[in-house]
């Protein structure tokens, strides 16, 4: 029963994928959309069942299908593990997945390849479930690669635009770099523990299995590189902003709410190993903090509505890594969840705006939309308040926990995180003001078509906005349901912050910081009514930020160009030499053959002479030389 239900949970989206791929065109637009949505809804229902069961019994459900690989002292099972952590993840993957599928029915309605879109989305959900449910690192790796593939397919969904294809390739290649690290990490762990099952490794550690700390450190670092690729951390973050080339529901589902949190999932899953390597945790914390600051500063000046959200995602992911690096896995998970709610809502809201404006993404050509798009505006406002960290919205609790933990461990990281938060408040309100306030700055034609989006689009927005509003309730400071719930999968008990004066002061600072950010945005874009200048007029620091610190250009100069140079060297020099050699041998053989064929002249006498000479020389060799 449990096995069947778990398999249903896993394979419902896959069935949706198969049907949509093979019969989607025949089914018609609405049917393929509804089918895709239903497939994920089934998964969500199954997840809900398991979630409630595991929450009550506190016993994880293990599903062992078969033995996959068996080597001398190393076995890999094809098995799944539905414990507290994976079910929590599945809850929001399938839950938000369902909402976004629903949204896409309306959003993608005019696209000629709608069935393909739903097929890919279903496939993505399938792989994400595989990633989360697997009971060992190899199954996680299957899902890990699969979601990367789906991400590639969906970023390049509008494949007729070359720059979108380039963005898709960039995402794929960047992810491959991380994946290599992940794979090496798995190999080292397999070598160290003779197993890649989470439970096995845990048991072995508990039984005092001798582990080489150096190798373990290297393995953890490699896994972290994998997480960097998937979760867009420095230095592998540049693909995520470009990934916005995909349709907006994709950005919401894959590049904000679920796939990019895979790295955080993996580190949380292996928290009992990461705890043993404090040096690596230190690196994670620093990388996370720096990423959050850098990405937030780039987000300050972007004018593309989705680019702002993309950099905000990178920045928030950075904060989650900061929490991971400080050993506060529960808090990172908490922020993953609240972030999934409000960021999905923000992306879907921006999609609603883009949909109304027929593909316009530049905020300089928006404005005044709050009058016509009331529901979009209100949900967007709630999510913006949540991401800015104002109480009582969900983002306040999770972000505040992160900053509080940072304050207790390392003041510098706290300052960096707080700065990033202030910037977040600023650019999010800048986005809000530019999009929804003042007067509309687009063309007259667009102005006539302004309208609120249909209910299939607004319903997910409302649900997500409610979740973004109340989501913080799962882990209130002092009485955290989440910490208790996750306690069985954590190696170390969660730190409890006593709500003393320091903590209230920190909350005050965080809220004041957010208000400062909002205030600056208000003064700039509402009081003075500024509109960001055209690209050519951007100067100074803003220009550096606008061009994303020229990181793409630097990567091009130091990595891409040399690789091209090596490529052209091999093409123009090595290949020419090698093919010259090969063709030369061929030509020599032809020449020899052409000369040799004149010997066959048809004169029997000549043949006989040669024959006799041959026999004579053989005899001579046998009798005289030997």
């Amino acid at each position: 029963m449990e096995t069947n239900l778990a398999l249903l949970l896993l394979f419902a989206p896959f069935a949706g994928f198969l049907i949509n791929v093979f019969f989607g065109k025949k089914l018609g637009r609405n049917a393929s959309g509804i089918l895709g949505t239903l497939a994920v809804t089934v998964s969500f229902a199954a997840t809900l069942f398991f979630f409630l069961q595991v929450m009550n019994t506190k016993v994880p459900v293990m599903v062992n299908l078969f033995e996959w690989l068996k080597l001398a002292n190393f076995t890999v099972n094809f098995s799944f593990q539905l414990d507290q952590l994976s079910l929590l993840w599945l809850m929001f993957v399938t839950g938000i997945g369902t909402l976004i599928h629903m949204y896409s029915i309306s959003y993608m309605h005019d696209d000629e390849n709608m069935h393909k879109f739903f097929a890919y989305l279903n496939l993505f959900v399938f792989f994400m479930i595989t990633l989360v449910m697997g009971s060992n690192l190899l199954i996680m790796f299957i899902g890990w690669e699969g979601v990367g593939l789906c991400s590639y397919l969906l970023i390049g969904f509008w494949y007729k635009n070359q720059s979108y294809n380039d963005a898709a390739k960039k995402a794929f290649i960047m992810n491959r770099i991380g994946d290599l690290g992940f794979l090496i990490g798995i190999f080292i762990l397999a070598y160290l523990f003779h197993s890649v099952e989470y439970d096995m490794m845990k048991t072995e550690l508990a039984n005092g299995w001798p582990v080489d700390k150096t190798w373990l450190g290297i393995a953890m670092l490699c896994l972290f590189i994998g997480a960097c690729g998937k979760s867009a951390q420095i230095p592998l973050y540049t693909w995520l902003p470009d990934a916005m080339a995909g349709p907006t529901p994709v950005s919401a589902l894959i590049h904000a709410a679920t796939m990019v949190t895979a790295g955080i999932f993996m580190i949380t899953r292996l928290n009992f190993l990461f705890n043993l390597t404090p040096d690596v945790l230190e690196i994670i914390a620093v990388v996370g903090a720096v990423t959050s600051l850098v990405a937030a500063s780039i987000g300050l000046v972007q004018n593309d509505i989705k680019k702002v959200l993309a950099y905000s995602t990178v920045s928030q992911l950075g904060l989650m890594f900061l929490a991971l690096g400080l050993g506060a896995y529960e808090i990172a998970v908490f922020h993953v969840i609240t972030h999934a709610f409000f960021k999905a809502c923000l992306f879907l809201g921006s999609g609603s705006v883009i949909h109304t404006l027929h593909g316009e993404q530049d905020m300089r050509n928006m404005g005044g939309l709050r009058k016509v798009m009331k529901i979009t505006f209100i949900t967007f406002l709630i999510s913006t308040l949540a991401i800015s960290g104002l109480p009582p919205f969900s983002g306040f609790f999770s972000k505040d926990e992160i900053l509080m933990t940072a304050f207790h461990h390392n003041k510098v990281l706290w300052i960096i995180g707080s700065l990033a938060s202030i910037m977040t408040a600023f650019y999010m309100f800048r986005l809000l003001y530019l999009t929804f306030y003042k007067d509309f700055r687009g063309t007259e034609e667009q102005k006539h078509h302004l309208h609120e989006s249909p209910s299939l689009i607004t319903f997910p927005l409302i649900v997500l906005a409610i979740l973004a509003f109340v989501g913080g309730a799962i882990s209130l400071p002092g009485m955290s349901w989440l910490n208790e719930y996750l306690a069985p999968v954590m190696a170390k008990p969660a730190e409890h912050h006593h709500l003393g004066n320091t903590e209230y002061m920190l909350m005050g600072i965080a809220v004041a910081g957010a208000l400062i950010g909002i205030g600056i945005a208000y003064a700039k874009y509402i009081k003075r009514g500024e509109v960001p200048p055209a690209d050519a007029e951007i100067t100074g620091v803003t220009n550096v930020l606008y061009n994303k610190y020229y990181v793409d250009e630097i990567y091009t100069a130091i990595i891409v160009k040399p690789i091209y140079a090596i490529g052209s060297f091999f093409k123009n020099v090595i290949e020419v030499a090698l093919s010259g050699l090969v063709f030369g041998l061929g030509r020599a053989a032809t020449l020899l053959g052409n000369e040799g064929k004149t010997i066959q002249n048809g004169s029997v006498g000549f043949y006989l002479l040669v024959f006799v000479l041959g026999v004579c020389s053989i005899l001579g060799y046998i009798f005289l030389v030997k």
Binding site: Q600, N601, G602, S603, V604, G605, L608, L609, V612
Partner: protein, 106 residues
């Protein structure tokens, strides 16, 4: 039997058959007439036969002589086939000069 070998000596048989063989070779190499070449080949064959018989006697082993019978039978068959080919060649080319057969190289 033994006294024949004692009278003539095995080496003389070897010399004779070598000589016959060389005559055959030179006949094949120098003559253009197919029938003469054919005869030369037969000479070579018989040189070998002679050698076989001589050694068979020398070793007191009848197997060599049995071989000779076989080889003569095969040679007879070969001659029949060869001469038939020559007749066919003669009919086509009005001659049996070996140089006429250059076309056979294809």
């Amino acid at each position: 039997m033994e006294n024949i070998l004692q009278q003539v000596g095995i080496d003389n048989y070897i010399y004779l058959s070598t000589l016959l063989f060389c005559v055959g070779i030179f006949g094949v190499l120098y003559r253009r007439n197919a029938i003469v070449m054919f005869m030369s080949i037969e000479i070579m064959l018989n040189a070998v036969n002679l050698l076989l018989v001589a050694f068979s006697t020398y070793h007191q082993d009848a197997a060599g002589q049995v071989f000779v019978f076989f080889s003569m039978a095969v040679a007879a068959a070969e001659v029949a086939v060869g001469l038939a080919i020559l007749v066919a060649v003669y009919r086509n080319h009005n001659g049996i000069d070996i140089d006429n057969l250059k076309k056979l190289k294809g």
